[in-house]
Symmetry: none
Subunit: 221 residues, 4 copies
DNA sequence: AATGAATGAGGCTTCATTCAT
DNA sequence: TATGAATGAAGCCTCATTCAT
């Protein structure tokens, strides 16, 4: 009735070693389990009972660790965003030329697809629902911060003559962002391309286009 | 609240001939109302009571029109998909060269953003949840059909030397598709660009890329 | 599973007559049932399931009539207070001399003991708990209104020389009020005294005191 | 949070001799804390976690001191009742005349308002709920004992011609009792009157009545 | 004595759906 | 077609209590 998973395989001692661990390790483990289910079924369709079952405890016991179901998804999302923003900042601080920085940002984006697959999926699917709650206002803030980083680089690239001047920076950012994140819907590790391959593929098309030969439209700048 | 007892008296046929004509009109109206709410709040977060309220009736009364909540969203999605596929087919049957056809398909895609905004939003946000029900299997089928149309054109374009040969057709399709549909999340009529402008903007970047000057990578074919 | 009470005794037709009735009759009936249980067990110790069981329906069905458990107790209390204040106002508007009016108010107070026994009990026992919720602020308001009515009469009586001047009007009111309401804890219809008898007994002691012979302290006025 | 492992090393006896002396002091402290919260929020609305928080420990740790939540409130109430009955007995044993003894009992009652405010509040508000549990039967017994003391004095007063004979002793007792205890709801130290003042105020009204001039009804005896 | 994790029962509430009228 | 009352299942959460450490 207690341990439901991994119960018959591991020796008792190993089990105890797993069950203990630092206070927040347990919490992190639970967040990870929850994230997977949220990603698979959607936040609303996921019951706290499912999360608890997956962890081998009763649903009420979850509330020893979290205030509410919202708190859990909050931790899922904020963990991802914190990591993402930190990576972006590092890329910006490298001080490279715009095209190189932007390429790196694309790589960073695709690079989160695997480690943060669940969180990105939740953000894609449940964002619309979650944002109606005041507690998730910070998500909008984070989104704005990220947008500024991208738009700034695109504009810098246009100023430096690296990017065509006849595209809208904000619009372009949105298209890039969506193309990256939405890939989480169909990308599965182990397919033809890994996320690095995906990134390079996209960088190619993004910068040089799908067409061959001469560019049909020339930049105005 | 209105007519309450006219069920057993009048002959069914006569009644339908007179009072009807709006038989399916009423139904369509309800579907449209529901679609808007589904789009705004998500399918699961939308209660049948909300839909009924919006229509000025009680929730139980909805069941004179639809078997279930799923039936309503089903109608929302299938109406959109039927229209979309019909348009794609028309573009394909025009028999133009691949690049022209693909451009037209992009235009068609962006062109559905306004008339089918609600349906597209629902498909984006609730697809993950809905697909777990067998009744929505046909959605997967429709998605596959559409994918084939696109991939065929991309391959044709590569064969004709119009498109670079070093990109993956299926992957490219998915990125195009995602870029278009996901725009429904932020596109609002009345902004800087209408959907036609959006389409042209994207076609430019898609075919010629973001960069200026020489293409850094050359097609292998 | 549906009708649990009065099911075997009454003929089917009678039952239907009971089950229907005007929309608010059903609601009033439920409120009355709930009031009895609240009085017997306390508001918090009463579960919505108990209320629903008593009414022969499922707990969820209660929410067809009421927003919440609080709404039910709200209706219990406000019904009582509305009636009480109306009666007090009528007594005040009779325009009698203070001692007569005050006597009448005492009679009114004891007079509510039977028809509003449940509500008064709830107010006595659960007031402390309920007042913490903003929605019950109006209870405090009603209490203040009533206090003003009483205090005004006591002061008037002192001004007219009918009541001793060396007592505090507000304090005296509180003691009278509490003595009346708190009787709901032990008063049971069918005992030695009915509520009229109780009222007269209290009026006697209230005005003339428990002692015999000369009053040991004289009014200062 | 503090000492965590000193259980198996030291001999129990030595430990108790040193660290203890506050064995029951700690317990009494916890009871006092609990009483305050019970009074403020009601017994049922008070969680063991709140009590533990107030004491700076975790809720589970409370169970090293008490078997259950009921045990705590039991201690709150019985402590008060033991003290009250002892005081009453002392007054009775003084052997004064009925009116003097009764006055003293009124003073004792009001005198408990401050030192036992919390316990009295709990008894007022949660009596109805608590009495349904067999373990609190002794409360009813104590209540009966007290009633007998009062009624005996009232009857003695009537027999001695000090109190009017046309009042019901039991009924009179109840009204006096209620008037005193219920004052706990609004009495706050530091107001116009302290409990001594309250007592004298009430004694005046109780024996001589609110009215001035001749008594309108005369005792029959 | 205290911690911290868990239990198990139960509470209030929501909601899609049904059905007699 | 619509109403209004009800169902029944389920959901999130609370809380007194237990127990190994």
């Amino acid at each position: 009735m207690t341990t439901r998973k991994n119960s018959t395989a591991a020796p008792p001692k190993a089990k105890r070693a797993t069950a203990s661990g630092s206070a927040s390790e347990r919490r992190d483990h639970l967040v990870k389990l929850a994230a997977e289910i949220f990603a698979r079924k959607g936040f609303q369709a996921t019951t706290v009972r499912e999360i608890a079952n997956e962890a081998g405890i009763l649903s009420g016991s979850l509330y020893h660790h979290f205030d509410s179901k919202e708190t859990i998804v909050d931790e899922v999302l904020s963990t991802f965003l914190d990591d993402l923003i930190a990576r972006y900042r590092a890329a910006l601080e490298s001080g490279g030329e715009p095209r190189a920085v932007l390429s790196e940002m694309v790589r960073i984006g695709f690079g989160t697809l695997e480690p943060h697959r669940a969180a990105i999926t939740v953000m894609q699917n449940d964002w619309n629902y979650l944002r109606q709650f005041p507690r998730f206002n910070y998500l909008v803030k984070a989104e704005d911060d990220v947008e500024q980083m991208w738009v700034k680089q695109i504009k810098a690239g246009q100023g430096a003559g690296q990017f065509r001047a006849d595209v809208d920076p904000k619009l372009t950012y949105r298209m890039i962002r969506d193309t990256i994140w939405v890939a989480v819907r169909w990308f599965r590790p182990g397919g033809r391309l890994n996320t690095t391959g995906l990134a390079e593929h996209y960088i190619t098309v993004l910068f040089d286009g799908l067409a061959t030969g001469e560019r049909s439209t020339q930049p105005k700048a």
